[in-house]
């Protein structure tokens, strides 16, 4: 695979000639990849540079020859002119399965080869419907393009003899299959098997009747299904979201970054003006954009489908002021003046609370304003450790794709596929290359399949487990509670500790499975201690990664915002609260009542959230799709996003609104150009000192080479021409040498009959930015909890039944699922499903 091309130094290089171009590639590079790497075309259908070759479609047939050698002396035989004599195979060979060797000669455009291409195309078209005028793929279809290039203008097959098959088969709620268009290349099934390990679709039957079916219930049950539509070389697979939505050539493309999780996948928004939207430009679909250091060419279904929130008709479009207890429209002047005067009065009693989906520029201005008044700038998050991440790394130059046997990866308190899907994928692939993956979690997760050690602990013991790993490798053991000492003696823990400490490189990812803020703080510190003690900081592919719940949480930490240890108290005692992109009242009744007690609440938002309902002033902001900015990913890669659609009239970006307020308070902040905000960030935040928007927009050649003209090769994922971003250097890479900090380990205690309710994360939750996507609705998790089947039996609860959950003083009816890998005495409560949970809490379940 062309990834080989990257590691030139490590490989034995061979020289081969393809159609008069002589090149040097690592031995074993596939002929099609070698060709593609210098921009030559050997058309393929079934081959895909991210998957193993299968040689099924026969589109890549070429003439291949190798130098002849004398049988007895094994000396090369030469032509009269002294050049090596080449012996060609009598049959055409599949370039997708043939590997480059020294002196090989490939002919990709001889009469024999082009005839074969024409023949294979003719074969494919005998069964293909003549759908192009109405097919979604038309315009970016490998079959269409290659037919135009190599096919015959006339059909020798009698149209009436075509086999007809079903055209609108819903494989699942998101993906439709047109069986007539399918060319049986197996890219989709191999993607599901090889790449994402969800074997939910496959072939049934044989011969001409071979057809794609799903065998999961619900159908095509995978978080990755959308990617199959990018790599399907025909219009057989389409998304329920985009099908019949637009023709590819009618759309514009603009670069963006997904802000649903901390990975920061590179996206392209395809937009179009249309009648349905009243002549406005709207987003028609989300496509992956290549960044081999971040998301390669993939995105998860949340990133692909949960974008409709930005165009929701529920968007706020004018400022609101509370009058006589009601929120009524106001002018910007009036609203801003009111906010300014109240903020001035509040002074250091202003609490600023920001969500991690804001951009660095927004967060910077918020932090500056807050500092100007002497107030607190808080990050709305239940996770700690962003400061440790910026100190320890991961180091600049970290790339999961480079990790192999020399690297150990610990993933702790995290259900990685649910919390950060692309990291799950890339760590799974690292494991396939030999990286030693260790998963520590109280219950089974999908990453367990890739792990060499699966460590189990009780909810609440995550920091203890990591401390036990430290104890197992460090002779100077910190004094630890008994459960830690016991864990440290466990064989599996010891083996894992050995693997982590002995690896040349070690990365630790910590998530939020079952953690409160306090638990997260202890966990992050324990992880930091382990990395410091084993010397795995300050270098590429070493260090700490926070699996944050929001796309730019790391950016918020870097801009100086911090979560509050007691948000409730902070809100209650404030004189003014300035909330942006956060919905505490929606998450917790406690926060709601605290806000009700606050003197003056300003909410800067996209919609009327539960928190906005309680506000004194509501300021509408632009969505990230309507403006520019940067996000910092969990791997501390700063990346730019660009405007895709025009803003609603009269709206400002978040940083602009904050700057307007600041200006009225005598603080000059940049209002209009985010690039200028970045220049200020560079002055104030040391790690960002070198950054400019120009640098963030730089691109370099990536392998595999994908793009618009050669959709046949990589699929319709977009080429990256707008920036690969810049990965920051952590302090440890700049000479800082942190020391161990031993913290006290928190413990959770329960009494009597109660269960411990612990918060966990589901990818497709009912979050504010997810539910507006109607196409996803049936895929979203329903309000539910999970129990161990034995606990359920004791309670007399059946799978799928409804129960009453009493938690944090509220009672709610929820569905019950089972998980036989989870500990006893625990009830798992997914976040953002409308069940109020912020930290592990005692709970009671009553049968209805």
């Amino acid at each position: 695979m062309s990834e080989l091309v990257k590691n030139e130094a490590a490989q034995n290089m061979v020289t081969l000639t393809i159609d008069d171009h002589t090149m040097s590639v690592p031995e074993g590079t596939l002929v099609v990849d070698a060709a593609r790497s210098i921009g030559l075309d050997i058309p393929v259908f079934c081959y895909h540079p991210k998957m193993e070759p299968v040689g099924m479609c026969r589109m890549c047939l070429v003439e291949i020859g190798t130098p002849m050698r004398d049988r007895t002396t094994s000396e090369p035989i030469l032509e009269d002119d002294g050049s090596p004599k080449i012996q060609f195979f009598p049959n055409l060979m599949t370039g997708c399965t043939f590997r480059a060797s020294e002196g090989m000669v490939v002919r990709g455009y001889t009469e024999k080869v082009t005839a074969a291409r024409k023949e294979v195309l003719e074969f494919l078209l005998t069964s293909h419907p003549l759908d192009c005028p109405t097919c979604d793929k038309g315009g970016e279809c490998p079959l269409q393009n290659l037919t135009m290039q190599f096919g015959d203008g006339e059909s020798r097959f009698i149209y009436d003899e075509k086999m007809h098959s079903a055209k609108h088969v819903a494989l699942g709620d998101l993906i439709f299959l047109d069986r007539e268009r399918c060319i049986q290349c197996a890219r989709c099934t191999r993607f599901q098997d090889e790449i994402v390990d969800d074997q939910v679709i496959g072939f049934s039957n044989r011969g001409r009747a071979l057809e794609i079916v799903t065998f999961s219930d619900p159908g095509f049950d995978s978080y990755w299904s959308g990617n199959t539509t990018d790599i399907c070389p025909v219009g057989a697979l389409t998304t329920a979201d985009f099908r019949f939505g637009a023709r590819p050539w009618e759309m514009n493309a603009s670069a963006s970054i997904c802000n649903h999780c901390a990975v920061g996948c590179n996206l392209t928004f395809n937009t179009r003006r249309e009648v349905k939207s009243g002549g406005e430009k709207i987003i028609k679909r989300v496509m992956p954009r290549q960044n081999e250091a971040v998301n390669e060419i993939w995105i998860c279904d949340k990133g692909r489908f949960a974008y409709h929130f930005t165009a929701s008709d529920q968007r706020l479009n004018q400022p609101l002021i509370r009058k006589d207890g009601k929120l009524v429209p106001s002018s910007w002047e009036l609203a801003l003046d009111l906010v300014t005067s109240r903020f001035k009065n509040a002074g250091e009693n202003l609490v600023t609370l920001a969500g991690g989906r804001l951009s660095n520029e927004d967060l910077f201005n918020l932090a500056e304003l807050s500092a100007h008044l002497g107030g607190d700038a808080l990050l709305y998050s239940d996770m700690a450790g962003g400061d440790l991440v910026s100190r320890l790394g991961v180091g600049e130059g970290t790339n999961f794709s480079d990790m192999g046997p020399e690297t150990a990866i610990l993933v702790v308190a995290c259900n990685l596929e649910e919390e950060a899907p692309l990291w799950w994928l890339r760590i799974k692939q690292a494991a396939e290359r030999g990286a030693k993956v260790i998963v520590a979690n109280p219950r089974k997760t999908k990453l367990d399949r890739s792990a060499i050690h699966n460590l189990r602990y009780e909810y609440g013991q995550e920091a203890g487990l990591v401390t036990a790993l430290l104890s197992a490798i460090s002779p100077k053991q910190p004094k630890s509670p008994a459960f830690v000492n016991k864990l440290a003696k466990d064989k599996e823990v010891k083996a894992a500790a050995k693997a982590l400490s002995e690896a040349e490189n070690t990365v630790i990812l910590f998530g939020s499975e079952g953690t409160s803020y306090a638990a997260s703080a202890a966990l992050a510190q324990a992880c930091a201690n382990l990395l410091i003690a084993s010397g795995h900081i300050g270098r590429p592919n070493n260090g700490l990664i926070g699996v944050w719940d929001k796309g730019n949480a790391q950016g918020a930490w870097d801009m100086g915002l911090r979560p509050s240890e007691d948000l409730d108290a902070a809100l209650k005692t404030s004189q003014a609260v300035y909330i942006s992109a956060a919905d505490p009242a929606g998450d917790s009744k406690q926060y709601a009542s605290a806000l009700k007690k606050a003197d003056f609440v300003v909410v800067q938002e996209l919609y009327m959230t539960a928190t906005a309902e309680l506000a004194d002033v509501v300021l509408p902001a632009q969505a990230f799709t309507e403006r520019e900015g940067t996000y910092t990913s969990g791997e501390r890669r700063v990346q730019r996003f660009y405007p895709a659609v025009p803003s609603l009239p009269d709206l400002l970006p978040d940083f602009g609104i904050t700057a307007e307020i600041a200006g009225r308070l005598g603080l000059e902040l940049e209002k209009t150009a985010p690039a200028s905000v970045m220049l200020q960030i560079a002055e104030v935040v040391p790690d960002y000192a070198e950054l400019t928007y120009q640098k963030l927009a730089k691109v370099e050649k990536q392998f595999p080479l994908i793009g618009r003209e050669d959709v046949y090769y990589g699929g319709t994922s977009y080429q990256n021409s707008q920036g690969l971003g810049v990965q920051l250097k952590p302090a440890a890479q700049n000479g800082d040498s942190p020391v161990l900090v031993i913290t006290e380990l928190p413990e959770v205690k329960l009494s009597g009959e109660e269960l411990l309710a612990v918060p966990v994360t589901r990818l497709l939750d009912l979050g504010n930015t997810v539910t507006p996507s109607e196409v996803l609705v049936t895929r979203l998790a329903k309000p539910h909890v999970a129990l161990h089947p034995q606990d359920a039996e004791k309670l007399g609860v059946e799978w799928g039944s409804k129960v009453k959950l009493i938690l944090n003083g509220s009672t709610q009816t929820v569905l019950v699922e089972f998980d036989n890998s989870m500990p006893h005495g625990v009830v798992l409560v997914p976040r953002s499903l409308g069940i109020p949970i912020i930290s592990p809490t005692p709970a009671t379940i009553k049968v209805l």
Binding site: P53, V54, G55, M56, C57, R58, M59, L61, N91, L92, T97, A116, E119, V120, E122, F123, L124, T126, S127, E154, S155, R156, F157, I158, Y159, E161, M163, I183, Q184, A186, G202, F203, S204, N205, R206, G207, R208, A209, L210
Partner: protein, 430 residues
């Protein structure tokens, strides 16, 4: 010592009554070769003798069996042996007779090959329709386990061996060795990309020997009587005997075991009793439906049936399923039949076979039912040529053999079926 009468090595049950009973087989010296190998011979020695015997695979390709065993990757364990009992080629019915009537000799062959490559598990993959036979084999395997010929620590050595039967689900392609392995792994039966070949990447990705039933059934006597003895039969490059499955327009169809390089004439006229009703012989398919059509002239009839000579008359020995076609048969009808068989059996994995065979079936059908045109014949030939040499496995090429040679060697049969006035229909818009 095992009794051999004339040139019957494999069909010895015809000479020894009740050879399918364990005690009879044992009395005849059965399992002595296996016991000798396990207790007294190095595994490599077994391979060496088989290599020296020149035994070639009877599944169709004729690959030297001992050479195949020696390719087994010794750095990757465990190893497996799979006996290919898929026997799906139309006109082939030899493996069935061996397994039904001389099962223990076949088992012993499987066991010897397992010992040679140090496999502890060996499988017999039977076509789904052989379920009743599989049931019988299972009972016999139980017997062998009870009598100490299978199981742990055989004959007091450290060598253990288990034997299992596995039923396919009724697909011709599952006789192709890599599709067979996929099928055994519970996957859709489609051929794998090769290389790697089964001796380095076989069942569950482990080194595996796949051999035809008949191939394996030769092994016990080769080990018992030696390579030199075996080479008394057949020719230098095609040693041994072969079971020829004779069918078609012939008076006495059936299996005939003859030394390799016996002639077609001998098989068809001496053993098979000639053509019924005194008709003249027209064509021969030497390897079942996958064969080219050999014009049955004197030169062909006097051709020795060995792997090399049959090629000289434009055919292949393959699995030696000789189908006799007499003058009453319309070749275009016959070609249509074979193409329909392949259309039904193409696995669909690769484009030229999946689409091409489907297309050919429309053309042969049209020609056969009289609605074709002359252009259809030209087109049929062209489609067949376009399939050839481009497929992932041999089935694609197999499907074109009868088509191409039929049109080339028996053009009148095709021309007679299409009316010269029939308008060409090969363009959509005309």
């Amino acid at each position: 010592m095992s009794k051999v009468k004339g040139s019957r090595i494999l069909l010895r049950h015809r000479d020894i009554p009740k050879l399918d009973k364990l005690d009879v087989y044992l009395e005849d010296g059965g399992f002595e070769s296996f016991k000798k190998a396990v207790t007294k011979m190095k595994p490599d020695k077994v391979t060496e003798i088989v290599k020296d015997s020149g035994l070639r695979g009877r599944g169709g390709a004729g690959f030297p069996t001992g050479v195949k065993w020696s390719f087994i990757d010794a750095n990757n364990w465990p190893h497996y042996v799979v006996a290919n009992a898929d026997e799906s080629e139309p006109g082939t019915f030899k493996d069935r007779e061996i397994m039904e009537q001389n099962p223990y000799q076949f088992f012993e062959g499987v066991m010897l090959s397992a010992y040679a490559i140090q496999a502890n598990d060996a499988y017999i993959y039977l076509r789904g329709e052989f379920w009743d036979l599989a049931h019988e084999l299972d009972k016999k395997i139980k017997k062998l386990e009870k009598s100490g010929y299978l199981g742990k620590k055989l004959f007091g050595t450290d060598y253990s061996l288990n034997l299992y039967t596995h039923l396919g689900a009724g697909a011709y392609i599952c006789g192709e060795e890599t599709a067979l392995l996929e099928s055994m792994e519970g996957k859709l039966g489609q051929p794998r990309l090769r290389p790697p070949f089964p001796p380095s990447f076989g069942l569950f990705g482990k080194p595996t020997v796949v051999n035809n039933v008949e191939t394996l059934a030769n092994v016990p006597l080769i080990i018992e009587k030696g390579a030199k003895w075996y080479r008394k039969f057949g020719t230098e490059r095609s040693p041994g005997t072969k079971v020829f499955s004779l069918s078609g327009n012939v008076n006495k169809p059936g299996n005939y075991e003859l030394p390799l390089a016996s002639t077609f004439r001998e098989l068809i006229f001496k053993h098979g009793g000639g053509i019924p009703d005194g008709h003249a012989i027209k064509a021969i398919m030497a390897a079942g439906a996958s064969s080219s059509l050999i014009v049955a002239n004197d030169e062909a009839l006097d051709t020795p049936m060995d792997y090399e000579s049959v090629q000289n008359v434009g055919g292949m020995l393959g699995s030696a399923s000789v189908i006799v076609i007499d003058e009453t048969v319309d070749i275009s009808w016959l070609v249509n039949k074979t193409v329909h068989f392949f259309k039904h059996e193409s696995c669909g994995k690769c484009t030229p076979c999946r689409e091409g065979v489907f297309w050919m079936s429309h053309l042969t059908e049209r020609i056969d039912n009289g609605s074709g045109s002359r252009e259809d014949i030209v087109l049929l030939q062209d489609v067949a040529n376009n399939i050839q040499g481009k497929c992932l496995c041999a089935l694609g090429d197999f499907s074109t053999q009868a088509v191409v040679t039929g049109i080339e060697r028996f053009p009148e049969d095709f021309k007679a079926k299409v009316s010269p006035n029939q308008a060409a229909r090969i363009k959509i818009n005309e």
